[in-house]
Symmetry: C2
Subunit: 254 residues, 2 copies
Amino acid sequence: MSSLQFTTESSSDGVRERDFTVGDVPGVLWSPASGPALAPLVLLGHGGGRHKKHGEMAGRAQLLVNGGGFHVAAIDAPGHGDRPRTAFDERASAELAAARAAGEPVGPIVQRHNAHVAQLVLPEWRAVLDALQQLPEIGTDGPVGYLGVRMGTAIGVPLVAAEPRITAAVFGLHWPDDLAEHAKRITVPVEFDLQWDDEHIPREAGLALFDAFASKEKTLHANAGRQGELPRFEVESAVRFFARHLGRTAAPQV
Amino acid sequence: MSSLQFTTESSSDGVRERDFTVGDVPGVLWSPASGPALAPLVLLGHGGGRHKKHGEMAGRAQLLVNGGGFHVAAIDAPGHGDRPRTAFDERASAELAAARAAGEPVGPIVQRHNAHVAQLVLPEWRAVLDALQQLPEIGTDGPVGYLGVRMGTAIGVPLVAAEPRITAAVFGLHWPDDLAEHAKRITVPVEFDLQWDDEHIPREAGLALFDAFASKEKTLHANAGRQGELPRFEVESAVRFFARHLGRTAAPQV
C-alpha cells in the first residue's frame, strides 16, 4: 500500500490546501485552517477534461470546508490535470471536436470516455482513501462522502457501489447506460442534480439514473436550464446534505 | 372592499399570532414578535380538509417567521376550518371514503373537489391580500410569496397566474389536469415538491405539472417516499427560496 506524501502547502480564506501524491496519483487535500482537527471527509470527483483544482473544484471545496467544516480531497483522474495524457484521451478529444463540428450528439463519445476513465481510477481512489484515513485528522472511523457530477458521477457511482466506507453521495448530470446497474446496489443517501433543459442528456435518461438508486433516502434537484447552468445554490445544498448525513463539526454557514 | 379586523392575539416562541376576518373569511397572520416591522409577506395555502391552523400550517409558519423574518398569512378555504361545511364538501368526503373503501383511485374526486374550492377562494384570497397590504407592517409595495402543496397548489397555481403581486411560489403534490394551463402563464421563480413514490399522483403527472411552468427559474425537488413523507427539510428549503427571491429581513436560520 502506497502512503501519502505531502508536497506543497498553502492557506487562504480559512482553507488549508495541501498537495499530495499516493504512488503516481497526484491529489489535493483542502482542510479547515483552524477548528477541530478531526472532521468528516468528502471526496470530490472532477468532470471530464478538468483538473483537480479547476475553479469549479476549488469553489466547491471552499464551500465544503468553510460551510461544513469538512476535509475535502480530489485527485487527477488518469489522463487529466497533472497526469500525462494518453492516446485514449487524445482520441476522445478529437472525436468530441469532430462530433461538435458536425452537430452530432456527443453523448456516446462522452459515455465511452467516462466509463474507461472510471475503470482506471477506481482502484486509485480506494488506495487514496486508504492513505487519507491514515492521517490522524481523518482517521479510519470517520464518515466519508462523495461529490461529483458529469464524469465525477461516472466515477462516483461505481466507487460508492463498491466502497462501504462512503455513506452519502451527491451525483448528477449523467446518462444511466453504464451506471444504472451500479446505482441499483447503492443504498446510502443520495442527492442527484439534473438540468431540466440539458442539451446533451435527455430528461428521461437523467430521471432513469435517479430512479435506479436503491437508496431509501434520495432527493432529485432538477433546475430549469442547460447543462452548464447548474445553479451555485446546489453546491450549498450539497454542503447541507453532507452536514445532515456525515455529521457536522460546525453549524453550516450556507 | 372589506377591511381587515383583528380578533384575537397571542405570542409564543418568537411568533406573534393574530386571528383576523376580512368580510366572512377567517384568517390568521403570523409575524415576528420582534425585529423590523416591515417585512415580506408569504401566503400559505392549506391542504384539502385541513384547518388554516393545522399543525403542519403552524409549523411552516413558524419556520418562515423565525427562519426568514416574514409575515405569513393563511385563510380557511370555503367549507374548511372555521367555515360552514357545504353540501359539496359533504358529498366529496363521502365519495372519498367510498373510493378508499373500494380501493379505487381517489385522484379524480380530489381533483374535482380542489378545482371547485380554488374557484371559490380565488377572489377571497385577492381581497385578503388587498386588506393585508393596508397594514403598515406589510404595505402595498412589499414583496409577496405563496406556499401551498396538495389543495394549496390547486388554489395557488391559478392565484399566482392571476395575481402580479405574487413574485415567488412553492408548489407541489398535485396533478396537472386542471392546472397546467394556468402554470403556463406563471413566469415567477417556482420551487416544486414531488414525492417519487406518490401512491396517488403518477410520477409522470407530477413531472408534467413542473414542466408546464413558464418560469425561467424553477427547481424540482423530488424525494423518495410516499405522498405523506414529504421531508421537513423541504420547508426549510422553501424558507431559503423565499429569502433569495423576496429579500430577507434577517439571515435565514435554517
